[in-house]
Symmetry: D3
Subunit: 162 residues, 6 copies
């Protein structure tokens, strides 16, 4: 019997980076359908609204037919189940990622034994990129064109000017 | 279009542990077909012959219809390509795994950009089990029934008595 | 001559988890008397008051005769000395724990050379549980019965509803 | 041709510790000129003003002829270039340092390929000292004379009393 | 009821270092009786015979009344049980220690649930010392007086000359 | 007064990789003179003789005027002192490097307080390359052109064919 083969890649994407895009491209080659699930995460007060984050993702990965951008609130395992998926994708870059991600994955597994977290590695050129560091650098005037797409760069500049 | 959805799980499996079996079960729920690829690894002088390792794996995962046990020699990326697969599975337990596995995965990616390594996490009850430690403990007389299947235990005892 | 054999297990316990309880049980088997010392930690604005945290601990470890629950403010080494104890217990779960705990233990050793920090490992089933993650998951509606005792669960639900 | 041989050691120094001073002494033995660059970092709301932090550094390393104390705002790579330097020094104490520092160094390298970050190790006696932990301990009444110079200690006490 | 309060500190001690001695002194202040258990470990072909290793330990910790030096072969948990002890001590210096030690401790716990491993931290001055590195340095002609006691130094020189 | 500004970069270089070459180029931009010191390391039985390793390095970094290739036996700190240098360079790629390198650097510092180890980071594209992994991959038939220079590749092939 054929597996459902839908994977969900959840995250805050505040904003999307070349690292995220690299993971998305790799996932899209493995799974029939990849759902990018943008977490509201209001308690973390993201710089961009959930609408802006969804829209920047749509602009950035236009060409990929089997990728869908969505947003969600609440428990990620509930969202994944609701979509009929059984695989969750997480990017792993560094040791600190590793520990936090493992803790989350084991907690999520306890909350829903049927959903499996798999980890993927971005290209080593993106292994050190983080949305947080990019926002910090940009707010100090850095040119961040090597880390995020052109359109995101323009929106980030606008947002930080306010 | 449908993805090929074959994954290869390579390793030495000298011998297979409950940790390996847990990863295999999880992979079998995600992919249409999972090929367990036992590496000859003669230069590491494994305790069990490749035939014995394949046979212990077959005994241990009998019930899984979409899992195939095979052995290989040479570069793992060549083997994976030869099987028409594009996904390689590796279990991640600890930080030391993490670094070594990342180094290998990045090297393999350079050798063949089309093959993607994904990482899976065993149940936390098996997170500390290693074939090496089990062999050491068994050779000192420990009862290793919590770490390996009954049949493997009997074969290990026999092997160590020699 | 007999050692005093009193150990202090300090922490915020906001709230107590099965991981903490596991460490307490193990410590109670080693030492004559174990004092659980709940830190006020007002600057971290804990979710539960110190009174509530002490009370949840009392409910959770009722059966252990040689365990005492107390609270403290100020430097932990001063508290430990005041109790006539010379051993401080800390649970170690992960690498990130490890570094932070070592830094704290070395700093405390400098502040009082006579107090020794020893590290204990919870059962691997609890190795990924953290009070912080449990609060996050519960606030998103997760059923956290696998991580904290029944009574704590009820109090946490009540607290988060406010 | 002779290298310029100026190195910049940037940081928040809130306040300077024996660990920082140890790195400065070691750097001053290697480079012709070492510029200690105190970052304003207003968004982190440091305990001491940038003026106070510069002044404490001046008091602490009086004897070193080839060391200059300065402050800066904005991108560190721009500051380093402006000073005609091509080397940035960072202290490495622990694994957590390591990852964060690598991420920063790789980001900075992308922002300016000409500036090289080098890492130095403090004496192992200072390997666990952090400005953050010292402030926490002092605020709880600890005697922190083993971690910071006398004058800094007096100023820290005064500051915390307010 | 009083706890038995005997602790076993197992190891290869090939040879004993100031790091080991520091852990032994600290353990001797906590427990009524500390048994240093020298593992034969013939398969690792130690440089010193088990007799020599026991004898160097005896010379190095003469003054400690409640410390006993012994040797053992086979499973460490069986040895600990045989001695009527329920606590095993391990020194933790670094991350790599941490992972290996945790794996061993969890394996040992599975082999005997009644024996608890506790971890202690040496003085930071000894945190980087390892028997392996000392032997390497000495074999290249280094003066290793800062790492091992005088008598051990003489024996090591003699041994390496052969 | 001007610093001597000679740095030594010691290693086994069995064989030299693009990662080593990247570190050498970066060091040559910082220091007046960089001495690449090839360790004999006979006890590790390197694949290439010390002469071959020196010669491959010479071929690989021909253009750098201020770089010298040399070989040494014995303690590295003695060699560095003998060359009138006070700085030792080590490349840091990963956490496992980090711990081992720190242990070595602290040991070397104890052996000679005047020699300072500084750490440099290769380009992230080379962060996962290791001589060991390259030899393994090549021996299995992999094309390793992305990891080592053309000439080294040819010599490696020849060596492995024997």
């Amino acid at each position: 019997m054929r597996k459902s083969n839908i994977a969900v890649y959840p995250g805050t994407f505040d904003p999307v980076t070349y690292g995220h895009i690299d993971i998305i491209r790799r996932a899209a080659r493995i799974f029939d359908k990849v759902i990018i699930a943008v977490a509201h995460n209001d308690e973390k007060s993201p710089l961009f609204s959930v609408g802006e984050r969804v829209s920047m993702l749509k602009d950035s990965i236009g060409g990929l037919k089997n990728v869908i951008i969505d947003d969600f609130d609440g428990l990620v395992v509930d969202y994944v189940k609701g979509k009929g998926a059984s695989v969750m994708i997480r990017g792993l870059r560094m040791i600190s990622d590793f520990e936090h991600e493992f803790q989350m994955a084991l907690t999520n597994r306890k909350l829903s034994e049927k959903i499996e977290t798999i980890f993927m590695m971005p290209n080593e050129s993106y292994s050190y990129i983080s949305s947080k560091l990019i926002k910090e650098a940009a707010s100090l005037g850095a040119d961040v064109k090597n880390f995020i797409p052109k359109k995101v760069q323009i929106l980030l500049k606008k947002k930080l000017r306010k």
